[in-house]
C-alpha cells in the first residue's frame, strides 16, 4: 500500500469535470450578446484529458484507488481514450449544427462534458456502486442533451422516453447489484470474483439471477433486443450530434462495463450467463437488421443498425475474456468512428432547422457533393463489414472470438445478418449514386470543423482497415486487464 493516496487514475475525469464547470461559468459571465467560446474551451479540456490518459498509459499506474472505485488499467485507459476522442469529434460536429437549429447554448457543451465524466468513470471502476453512480452521471446528462432542442416536440418526446426507459434500466441494474452483493457480501469486483469461486450451490441461483438482472440493465443501455424499444425514437428525436455521441460513446462505455462485470467479476458464472448472452446476441442481430430493412428515415435506419451492432458486439462477449476484450475493444473503435461519421454527415448537412430525414433526401448526393457521398459510402461499407475498412477487421475479430470459443452459431448468424444489413446500407448508396437529385440542393455547406471531424472518422476507418495491427496490440494489452 502506498502511504500517499494515489489519485492519478482520477485525473482524466477530473480535467473533464473541471472543464465542464468552466464552460458553464464562462457562459454565465460572458458579456451579454456574445457567446462564450464553449467549443474551444471544451476541446482544450478534452485534449488535456487525452494527454493525461497518454501519460497514465506511459506511467503504468496499476492497481485501483479509493477502495477499488477507480483504476487506470489498460482497459480503462483504452476506452477512456476512445470516449475522449468521440467527445472531441462530437464537439467538432456541434457548432454548425447548433447554429443551423438555433440552439447555441453553453450548457450543451457542459452537459456533453459531464456525460463524458460519467463514461470515463464507467469504464474505469472496479466496484458496482461506483459503476452505478458513473452510469447515472452519464445518463442524466444525456437525458438533458436529448431534449435540448426545445423547438422540436420530437426532441422533448425522445428525452422523456429515454429518461423513463433509463430509470427502468437503472432499477434492474440496482436490483442485480443487490443480489450479487447478497451472495458475495461485497460490491467490489475483486471480492465478488473470489466469493463466487467458492460459492455454495444454494446461493448459486441467486447469483445467476443477479447476473441476469445486470444483463437486462446493461441491455437497455446498449440497446440490445428486447430492451431496444427506446432507441429508434430517441435516436431520431435527439439533436443529430447528440445521437452520434450517444451511439458511439454510450456503447463504448457500456461495453467496457459489461466486459468488466461479466468477463471479470462474474467470470465464474460464465457457463450460466453465456447462453443468455448468446441468445440476446442472436435476437439482437436478427431483429435489429430485419427492422432496419423497413426504415425510410435515415436516423431510424442508423438506429436499428446500431441495435444490430450491439448484437455483433455481444456475440464476442461469450468468448474467453482476453479474446473478447481484444475483439470488442477494436470493434468499439471501428464502430465509434463509423457511427460518428454516419450521423455526422447528416448533422453536417443540416440547414435552417432541416436535415436529410429520409433516404430519398440523399438522392443524387454524389453528383452534387462527390466527396461527401464517397465519405458516407465508406462509412456504410464499414458498417456492412466489407474490406478494406475497420468495420471488416472488427467483425472478423468479433466472429473469430465467437468461433474460437466454440460458438460457431453466433458467427453464422452474424455473417448472415450482415448480408441482410448490406441491403439497407446499399439502399443509401443507391440513392446517392444511382438516383437523380430531386429539386434544389437545400443542404448546408459542410463547415470546416465538421469536415475535419468527418475526415478524421474516415481516416480512422481506412487506416485501421488497412493496418489494424497497432490498435489490435493495444486492445490485446487492454484485454489482459480482465485476467
Amino acid at each position: 500500500m502506498n502511504a500517499v493516496l494515489d489519485l492519478r487514475p482520477i485525473i482524466p475525469a477530473a480535467i473533464v469535470a473541471v472543464t465542464g464547470v468552466v464552460v458553464l461559468l464562462a457562459q454565465a459571465f460572458a458579456p451579454s450578446g456574445r457567446a462564450a467560446p464553449s467549443p474551444v474551451l471544451s476541446l482544450a479540456g478534452l485534449a488535456g484529458a487525452l494527454a493525461s490518459v497518454w501519460l497514465l498509459a506511459g506511467g503504468r499506474a496499476e492497481g485501483a484507488v479509493l477502495a477499488g472505485a477507480l483504476t487506470a488499467d489498460g482497459l480503462a485507459l483504452f476506452l477512456q481514450a476512445v470516449i475522449l476522442a468521440v467527445a472531441v469529434l462530437t464537439v467538432l460536429l456541434s457548432p454548425a449544427y447548433l447554429r443551423a437549429n438555433g440552439m447555441e447554448r453553453g450548457e450543451y457543451y457542459a452537459l456533453l462534458l459531464f456525460s463524458v465524466v460519467g463514461m470515463l468513470g464507467l469504464v474505469s471502476t472496479l466496484e458496482l456502486v461506483s459503476m452505478f453512480v458513473a452510469l447515472e452521471i452519464m445518463s442524466v446528462a444525456l437525458y438533458g442533451m436529448v431534449g435540448l432542442d426545445r423547438a422540436r416536440p420530437e426532441s422533448q418526446e425522445a428525452a422523456l422516453k429515454y429518461f423513463v426507459n433509463g430509470a427502468f434500466a437503472s432499477a434492474f441494474l440496482l436490483y442485480g447489484v443487490a443480489l450479487v452483493y447478497g451472495v458475495s457480501g461485497s460490491t467490489s469486483l475483486d471480492r465478488i470474483t473470489r466469493a463466487l469461486g467458492v460459492a455454495s450451490p444454494e446461493t448459486l441461483p441467486l447469483a445467476v439471477l443477479g447476473a441476469a438482472l445486470l444483463l437486462v440493465g446493461f441491455g437497455f443501455k446498449v440497446a440490445s433486443v428486447p430492451f431496444h424499444m427506446w432507441a429508434p425514437d430517441v435516436y431520431e428525436g435527439a439533436p443529430t450530434p447528440v445521437t452520434a455521441f450517444m451511439s458511439a460513446g454510450v456503447k463504448a462505455a457500456a461495453f467496457g462495463a459489461l466486459l468488466r462485470v461479466f468477463g471479470y467479476g462474474l467470470a465464474d458464472l460464465a457457463s450460466h450467463w453465456q447462453p443468455l448472452v448468446a441468445a440476446l446476441a442472436i435476437v439482437t442481430m436478427l431483429l435489429g437488421n430485419l427492422a432496419a430493412l423497413a426504415q425510410r428515415n435515415l436516423k431510424r435506419l442508423l438506429a436499428y443498425s446500431s441495435i444490430a451492432h450491439a448484437g455483433y458486439l455481444m456475440s464476442a462477449l461469450v468468448a474467453a475474456p482476453v479474446l473478447a476484450g481484444e475483439a470488442i475493444l477494436f470493434y468499439v473503435v471501428a464502430y465509434a468512428a463509423v457511427n460518428l461519421g454516419g450521423f455526422g454527415v447528416i448533422a453536417a448537412l443540416s440547414k435552417g432547422g432541416q436535415e436529410p430525414a429520409t433516404v430519398a433526401d440523399l438522392a443524387g448526393l454524389a453528383e452534387r457533393r462527390p466527396l461527401l457521398a464517397a465519405t458516407l459510402t465508406l462509412f456504410l461499407v464499414s458498417l456492412t463489414g466489407i474490406p478494406i475498412t475497420a468495420g471488416f477487421v472488427g467483425k472478423f475479430y468479433l466472429f473469430n472470438a465467437a468461433v474460437a470459443s466454440g460458438w460457431v452459431v453466433l458467427a453464422l448468424v452474424g455473417v448472415l445478418a450482415s448480408v441482410v444489413s448490406a441491403y439497407y446500407y446499399l439502399r443509401v448508396v443507391v440513392a446517392m449514386y444511382m438516383e437523380p437529385p430531386l429539386g434544389e440542393d437545400r443542404w448546408a455547406a459542410v463547415s470546416p470543423a465538421a469536415a475535419l471531424a468527418l475526415a478524421l472518422s474516415a481516416g480512422v476507418t481506412l487506416l485501421f482497415g488497412l493496418w489494424p495491427a497497432p490498435v489490435l496490440t493495444f486492445a490485446r494489452l487492454a484485454g489482459r486487464s480482465l485476467l
Partner: protein, 514 residues
C-alpha cells in the same frame, strides 16, 4: 529495358490503385485526361505484367513470392505469389483492362472519372485475388472488389441496373460470408495459428470437418462461377452492366470462382473435395446442358452470351471436378479461352448496341452486307467460343473431356451433348443476325468497325487464334502446377503413403487420375 522483378506482384496491385487515386483528384470536367490517364496506367500495368511471363519458370512451386507480417498476432501476413494456376489469370486481367477502357471510350458519358477509378480499383482487386496466398488477404480482395463492380453495374448500366447491381452484390456477398466463417473455423481447427494458405494446405484438418468447410467455400465459389443452380444473378448482372462491366464480369470475375476451387477449396480440403467431386461434376454437367438449352431460346443477344457462359463454365468445373492433371490443365486453359472469346463477344454485342440501341436478335438480319468486317470478327469469335478445331476453345474443351473420361465417362458423354448444342445456338444466332436479307431499314448503312473498335478486337482475335494453334506455349506453364495439385490431393487422400519410387513412375496421364 526490362522492368525490374522486385516486388513485381505488389506493383501490379499498387499501380492501378495509385492511378485511381490520381484520377480521383482530377477535376470533373477533364474527361479526356481521365480517360488517357486510365488507359496509360492500365497499359503500364500490362507491360509490367508481361515480365511475369518472361521470367516464369515452368515448375510447380510459387514464384515472385513476397511475404510481410501484417497482423502478426494472428498469423496474418501479406503473402503473394503466383504459380501456373494463377499466372495466366493475372495476365488475362491486365490484358483486358486496357481493352475495356478503350472499348468504353465513347459509351460512358456521365461520371467518367468515377468510371475510370472503378475500373482501375477493380483491376487491382482482381489481381489481388489471383496472387493472394493468405486467407485473410484473399478474402479482403475477394470482397473489396465487389464494391467497384457494384458501382459499374449500378451507375453505368441499362434500365434495370439498380436491381441487377443489388442482386449481384447480395448474392455474392451472401456466398462469401459463409466462406469467412469457414476460414475462422479452419484457423481454429488447424491449430497452426496462421492464415497462410500453403501452411494450411500442409496441415489438413479432420475429414468430417472438411466436408462442412468445403461446402461453405464451394458455395462462395459456385455462386461466382456460377454453377447451376446458383447462376440466377448472372443473366441480370450481365445484361444490365455496361459493356466494359460485362466483359470484366465474364472474362475475369467468373474465373475467380474456378480459381477459388483450385487454390483453396480443393487443396485445403482434399478429402472432402474427392468425396464431393461427383456432386460438383453433376452440377457442372447440368450447367453445361442447361446453359446451352437456355441460350438456344434467348431472343436477346446479350442474354444469349450470358447463358452460354453458364454452359462454358460448366466445362471448366467438370475439368476441375475430374481432379486429373489433364482435366485441371484444361480447366485453367478453358478459363482463359472463355475470357478471350466471351469477352470479345460482349464487346461485339456492345458495339452493335451502340449503333442500334437494341439487342434483340429479331431486329437484325443480313448484317453481313452492312458490316463485313464486324461480321468476320463475330464469326471467328463465335467459332472459337464453340470450340472449332484451330481455335482456342477446342484445345480447352478437348483437354477437359479427355481428363474427365476416367472420372466419369457418362458425364463426358452428356457434356459432349453440350458441345453440339453450343454449335447450334451460336451458329443459329450468327445465321439470324448476319445472313438473309438486310430487311430492317434501320440496319441499312450501319457503319462498320471504327479504328478504335478494331484496336479493341484485333488483339482478342489474334490471341484466340494463337491460343488455338500454339497452345503448348500456355499449357506447359499451367501443367506443372496442375500436376502438383493433383498429386497433393492424391497423397492427402491415400490412407497409407506409398513409396517414393512408385510416385515417380506415375506419369501425369489423364488415365490414372484416381
Amino acid at each position: 529495358m526490362t522492368p525490374p522483378l522486385v516486388h513485381l506482384l505488389t506493383w501490379l496491385i499498387l499501380l492501378p490503385v495509385a492511378g485511381a487515386l490520381l484520377i480521383a483528384l482530377t477535376r470533373r470536367e477533364s474527361v479526356s485526361v481521365q480517360k488517357l490517364l486510365g488507359l496509360a496506367v492500365s497499359l503500364v500495368t500490362f507491360v509490367l505484367s508481361t515480365r511475369l511471363v518472361s521470367a516464369f519458370r515452368d515448375t510447380a512451386g510459387m514464384q515472385f513470392e513476397e511475404r510481410y507480417a501484417w497482423i502478426p498476432a494472428w498469423g496474418i501476413s501479406y503473402h503473394v505469389g503466383i504459380d501456373g494456376l494463377s499466372l495466366w489469370l493475372v495476365m488475362l486481367t491486365t490484358f483486358l483492362t486496357p481493352l475495356c477502357l478503350l472499348g468504353s471510350w465513347s459509351q460512358i458519358e456521365k461520371g467518367v472519372r468515377e468510371f475510370v477509378v472503378s475500373m482501375l480499383l477493380l483491376e487491382a482487386g482482381m489481381i489481388g485475388v489471383f496472387v493472394a496466398l493468405d486467407l485473410f488477404l484473399f478474402y479482403v480482395f475477394w470482397e473489396a472488389m465487389l464494391i467497384p463492380m457494384y458501382f459499374l453495374i449500378g451507375i453505368w448500366g441499362h434500365e434495370r441496373r439498380i436491381y441487377a447491381a443489388v442482386k449481384f452484390f447480395l448474392y455474392t456477398f451472401a456466398g462469401s460470408v459463409l466462406m469467412l466463417v469457414a476460414f475462422l473455423v479452419l484457423y481454429r481447427a488447424a491449430g497452426i495459428r496462421s492464415f497462410d494458405i500453403p501452411a494450411l494446405v500442409a496441415a489438413p484438418v479432420d475429414p468430417a470437418l472438411q466436408t462442412w468447410l468445403f461446402l461453405a467455400c464451394a458455395l462462395a465459389f459456385a455462386i461466382k462461377v456460377p454453377m447451376w443452380p446458383f447462376h440466377t444473378w448472372l443473366p441480370d448482372a450481365h445484361v444490365e452492366a455496361p459493356t466494359a462491366g460485362s466483359v470484366i464480369l465474364a472474362a475475369v470475375l467468373l474465373k475467380m470462382g474456378g480459381y477459388g476451387f483450385l487454390r483453396l477449396a480443393i487443396p485445403l480440403f482434399p478429402d472432402a473435395a474427392v468425396r464431393l467431386a461427383p456432386l460438383v461434376g453433376v452440377l457442372a454437367v447440368i450447367g453445361i446442358v442447361y446453359g446451352a438449352l437456355v441460350s438456344l431460346v434467348q431472343p436477346d443477344l446479350k442474354k444469349l452470351v450470358a447463358y452460354s457462359s453458364v454452359s462454358h463454365l460448366g466445362f471448366v468445373m467438370l475439368g476441375i471436378a475430374a481432379l486429373s492433371t489433364t482435366g485441371v490443365t484444361g480447366a485453367v486453359y478453358q478459363m482463359l479461352n472463355h475470357g478471350i472469346s466471351t469477352g470479345a463477344l460482349f464487346f461485339l454485342v456492345g458495339m452493335l448496341y451502340d449503333r442500334r440501341h437494341t439487342r434483340l436478335i429479331s431486329e437484325f438480319g443480313g448484317l453481313r452486307a452492312a458490316m463485313p468486317w464486324y461480321f468476320a470478327v463475330f464469326l471467328l469469335i463465335s467459332l472459337s467460343s464453340i470450340a472449332v478445331p484451330g481455335t482456342n476453345g477446342f484445345v480447352g474443351e478437348f483437354l477437359i473431356l479427355l481428363g474427365a473420361w476416367s472420372f466419369s465417362p457418362w458425364m463426358v458423354v452428356v457434356a459432349t451433348l453440350g458441345v453440339i448444342l453450343a454449335a447450334a445456338y451460336a451458329l443459329w444466332m450468327v445465321k439470324r443476325v448476319f445472313y438473309g436479307e438486310l430487311a430492317n431499314p434501320k440496319n441499312q448503312g450501319l457503319p462498320d468497325l471504327s479504328p478504335r473498335e478494331a484496336a479493341v478486337l484485333v488483339p482478342l482475335v489474334v490471341l484466340a487464334l494463337v491460343m488455338g494453334i500454339a497452345s503448348p506455349l500456355f499449357t506447359r506453364r499451367i501443367e506443372p502446377a496442375a500436376d502438383a495439385l493433383v498429386r497433393q490431393v492424391r497423397e492427402a487422400t491415400r490412407p497409407a503413403p506409398p513409396a517414393v519410387a512408385v510416385l515417380e513412375q506415375t506419369a501425369p496421364e489423364p488415365g490414372d487420375a484416381r
